[in-house]
Amino acid sequence: MPNDRTTIATLGCVLGGAALLAGLNLVAPAGSAAHVPDFAISLIGKYLCYAILALAVDLVWGYVGILTLGHAAFFALGGYAMGMYLMREIGARGVYANPTLPDFMIFIGWNKLPWYWYGFDHFWFALVMALMVPGVLAWVFGWFAFRSRVSGVYFSIITQALTYALLLAFFRNDMGFGGNNGMTDFKDILSFPLDRESTSVGLMLITAVVLSAAFLLARAITGSRLGKVLVAVRDAEARTRFLGYRPESYKLAVWVVSAVIAGVGGALYVPQVGIINPSEFSPGNSIEAVIWVAVGGRGTLAGAILGAVAVNLGKTWLTNALPEIWLFAFGGLFVLVTLFLPRGIIGLFSVRLPSATADRKSAAAEAAVREVAG
């Protein structure tokens, strides 16, 4: 269990690191060794969004044992909500210069804005939708799945199916979300031009703050009595049921919170990368997020953040240097971490030798007891 020291260290790293990089970008003169280039700022912003997604995955996988292989769906839905706002914000500056209809709708011959696009000209509305849509979908999906006691690998498979179904749906032009190409060519957010560097610095800093808030929320949940029940459900679900708990309502509550966190991550992601398209729903993305968590250290929250940033740094570097080996390296990393670092990178920092020895001792004692008794 993370203690208060790791909480402070994590917040310090996220907020301090983001502020430092922002400062070096704005203050240090371009060309000096200390200058952080603009592209690096948007990259960091992107990694921090991934860290929010990883946090959401760790909350359900690490603490309740729900192996989700579809969390990128919630991330992408949050992203689409934000993308719809950014599309409408373009207004008459599009290629077809239509003040209400986004270019892609005119391109497919629509002449009226579909009802589900109403309201997305307001930023607050898009923000509410970025939380609500993933939350409601997670609630409906979870309600059915947890009530019928679907768990383990079966649950994982249907989460993959969920994200794949959404991928296919969003590919369709007549869904009205830009089809294959998705949405792009955004101009500005709340009147701040997206191509200006101060905007990217601002977005990156906001992402760091939101990540910290999500981290604190997750810490509050896992540190409460609810968090203890979650661990109890993870390790001995039947026992909790015979104690009078309804594991399905606990799972559902955390599942929905986690989906909302993922949605927020997606909403912050889209203005920083400048595009959202159906490939964000691809099943591989969700699996990648699980691997970030495994690499960083499952069930530690801080490890999820660390894993997301570290793996994506590696990915950026390797896909530039040796693009063809990235997937092999990624797969290899997962295998190595599973074999040699079961507690992830974070496990290297908090070596708990005494308890590990105690584990072995008690196992030996237990074996002895069994031998005597048997």
Binding site: K228, R239, L243, G244, R246, D359, R370
Partner: protein, 247 residues
Amino acid sequence: MTEGPLLYLDRVSVSFDGFRALNELSLALEPGEMRAVIGPNGSGKTTMMDVITGKTKPDAGRVVFGDDTDLTRLDEPAIARLGVGRKFQRPTVFEPLSVRDNVLLALNGDRSPRFALWARETPDERARLEEILLTIRLGAERDRRAADLSHGQKQWLEIGMLLAQEPRLLLVDEPVAGMTDAETVATADLLREINRTRSVMVVEHDMAFVRALAVKVTVLHEGGVLAEGSIDDVQNDHRVIEVYLGR
């Protein structure tokens, strides 16, 4: 309040793929009674526990708890909240949590996620916790992870969790399996202590242990009651001897 039995199984039948696990089983347990249930493997002991606690739904029959609650209509958490505690054959405790937290989660109270999110430990909870830790003789181990306990200590911790639930009826499945002789004796004492305030039903294989409990015994065979009475009566019953020693 009528002074009827606390638990009444009324011609309960359960089949699994054509195999009759329970065959019109009828059984009554008085309030405050401790009952030992014995029987050869496959006689329906565990299925009976499953039916009482809501894990298995019977094909026919009723299970009446207290005045007139039919348990067959309820699920496990609802039955647990009514006051039926169940101890599994293999000790099941929450291994990563401390001994104290294990008992804390079991303390009778609100079971909703919303309550759990905001719950703070109250002085009353602390007092009940300490009392239970004392009863199950794990006071010194309160801050250890449950995973680090010995097999016998885990059994007691689980019994402590059931006490924390404040059940009216405690179902105990083979409590002394895998225990040392000293632990077995201590467990018999513990069950007798528990029985001072609540009804207990013990399923057990160990005849010496059942004898030590010195309570009324029910013998199950092929999903029904074969014999009922004191341990001596039962052990001298020719049908019981036949079932246990083979024909």
